[in-house]
Symmetry: C2
Subunit: 397 residues, 2 copies
């Protein structure tokens, strides 16, 4: 059996998964899935890099990685070299599942559900019922717990290779913004500009970091609220702003950057626009100066939020920053306010190796919203900008 | 607000969803999701055709379609023209959810979980917990039920437009097989042939009906078990078989076809290969002759399974047929045996407008497996082949 080199990163993450178990006081992590090409547990691409068809159990313990998969999936899973033990089945997975759990006899079995974190909430209600049914009359049905914190550590602590892929995703997005500076002209529609970005993405052989329909978000002029409506036949005008929210996926890892263009010369930038821009730029910098390992999510958000309010603007209606990785919204600790819809994710702690966005908008009276977004890596001392922070409005004249 | 024409099919399915409620004795269907670009309930593309970011509730009753979504998603959802009522929120969805449920006061609320059907099992454990938490101290927490049968009817009963897209997906796959007949030569590797299919898919501007890594499955010679291992550097040889499992997605709808090539002249086909081929071909035909509205899934499977066993072969280790639609495995009634891993899906009833595959393999002594797959539409009288059934081995000399 030839081991495929291309699954190196998944092998490293699977190994990391075993190592984190102990610190979380978990004896076994059980990933319990089926037909993942239709709906995949978000952790699967992190530690498997591929799909599973029939009911499948991936079991990680401190010293062994076990895959129980349908017989047609066996060769594919084996060839990735991620698992120590690959067990195929045909009619029912039940017996092998109980056999392997009995062999390891774990006291605390973590499964993938989370009220707060979509990236750790890959188990469906039907699959959960099925698991409980298979495990009834065994001691294991009472040993299940949430893998939420385990998955958050695993996703959040980027390996060197993961960071280098994110760096590349950031660099490519920035290169495309550079090209866009020469392409974008007054009078173009949002859709024309959107199409140019996609032309460039093809050139760089990267895919979209989130749903293509609104990546990049292209928002021309004062009347379009930033959000998720995608580009429309809305024309750029002299004296107006143009906003982008753009990210690419390079070898499975994402960037996520917002930039502001202005149509006119630097001296034409209205004072209210310049003030808004500087508030966003400096608010992001203030948060970057503050963030460090051990900081709590909502504390970091509060730095920027207080900055904005002190500058006399309404506070932004979202979180300051989310983690970035396989997913553009990579789960785990959120740099956000303690709002109900964020659950307890703003209470998480920032760790070395985490990659976050820092982003927010303010609203001007006559020119719509001004918004920026940078990507940072948490270091031992604080953070490093992965993107080159936008210091001035990009003027297109 | 301009209504986008391109969501016509989603509007039709959403309307169909309201119409099926009554027959299933359901008062409201609740789709309860978040961050669907990371993990999407499989029904979402059927009735929304796009993603939702924050916690979102889509509520379908007999006479109203309601969407409660994050404020950034509001415009995008509105512009699709699917929902009668679109309600945005910022801090928490809880109040609006309870308010809208109270307004409609449904006695039976169907939510998306299913032990048996992955396509109807889109609700995660964390989101379910959150829903129960939001609904505690309301009467609604005790009114929840599975939407399994509702979703199965909705997915299974293809509209005219859905069938015409599937027809096109089948036709394009067949065109690519036609081109492959001229391209494939003795001595090529599976990977070379795989790459040619992908070149053709680009030409036709279609995507893969399942994970690209093993679509098409290309299996050369006797030693490669058909399954999910993807193409390798395995060369085709004179006197050997070549097997394909291939499907494309055309405007969101799938085809799924298996074909067998033989390297040599018709007169060179070994008797055991010819016998195996005819057994598969005729077993599929026997099932097609039998299938009709009202037939039960396992009965249809049994026709082919008994045919194979009567011909002296070992029975195939999978189901005879699955439904085809947005997904290559579209859920609902399965034409399969009553094996534990299929749950109760083989007990489902075949309906007019369903689209199924008919597929199985037999194993020869010296030439590996022989397998075919056709796509059929259930009509009032029985079924219509959407694919042109393979009647003879395709001989490449």
């Amino acid at each position: 059996m030839v081991i495929e080199m291309k699954y190196e990163i998944e092998r490293a993450k699977a190994q990391q998964a075993c190592e984190i178990l102990k610190e979380q006081d978990i004896d076994a992590w059980l990933i319990w899935v089926r037909e993942t090409s239709q709906m995949a547990d978000p952790v699967l691409e992190l530690i498997l890099g591929g799909d599973l068809t029939w009911q499948s159990a991936l079991i990680f313990t401190e010293n062994e990685k076990i895959a129980i998969v349908g017989n047609f999936d066996k060769d594919g899973v084996k060839s990735k070299g991620i698992f120590d033990t690959v067990i195929p089945y045909t009619a029912s997975i039940r017996d092998e599942l109980i056999k392997q759990l009995s062999r390891k006899d774990p006291n605390r079995i973590a499964i993938n559900y989370s009220v707060n974190d979509v990236a750790a909430d890959g188990l469906t209600v039907g699959m959960h019922k099925l698991l409980l049914d298979y495990l009834k009359n065994t001691p294991f049905s009472n040993r299940l717990m949430s893998a939420e914190h385990h998955i958050q550590k695993l996703r959040g602590r980027k390996t060197t290779e993961e960071v280098s892929r994110i760096r590349m995703a950031v660099e490519i997005a920035e290169n495309i913004f550079e090209k866009a500076k020469n392409f974008v002209k007054v009078g173009m529609t949002e859709i024309e500009i959107y199409d140019y970005f996609h032309h460039c993405m093809k050139e760089y052989d990267v895919t979209s970091a989130w749903e293509e329909e609104h990546n990049p978000a292209v928002d021309a002029g004062p009347y379009k609220q930033f959000g998720h409506a995608g580009p429309i036949e809305n024309k750029t005008l002299a004296g107006h702003l143009l906003h982008f929210d753009f990210g690419v996926k390079y070898r499975g890892y994402c960037s996520d950057i917002q930039r502001m263009f202005f149509f006119g010369n630097k001296r034409d930038v209205p004072a209210e626009v310049q003030d808004a821009f500087e508030t966003v730029r400096d608010g992001i910098q203030a948060a970057a100066d503050f963030v460090r390992p051990g900081a709590v999510g909502y504390e970091v958000d509060a730095v920027a939020r207080d900055f904005v309010k002190a500058a006399g603007y309404e506070e932004y209606q979202h979180a300051l920053g989310h983690q970035l990785g396989r997913l553009a919204h990579d789960g785990g600790t959120l740099l956000g306010p303690k709002w109900e819809r964020y659950g307890d994710s703003p209470m998480g702690v920032v760790e070395v190796g985490n990659v976050f966005t820092l982003e927010f908008y303010v609203t001007t009276e006559h020119y719509g919203q001004v918004s920026l977004e940078e990507d940072i890596l948490i270091t031992r001392e604080g953070c490093e900008f992965l993107s080159q922070p936008q210091r001035e409005l990009i003027c297109i004249s």
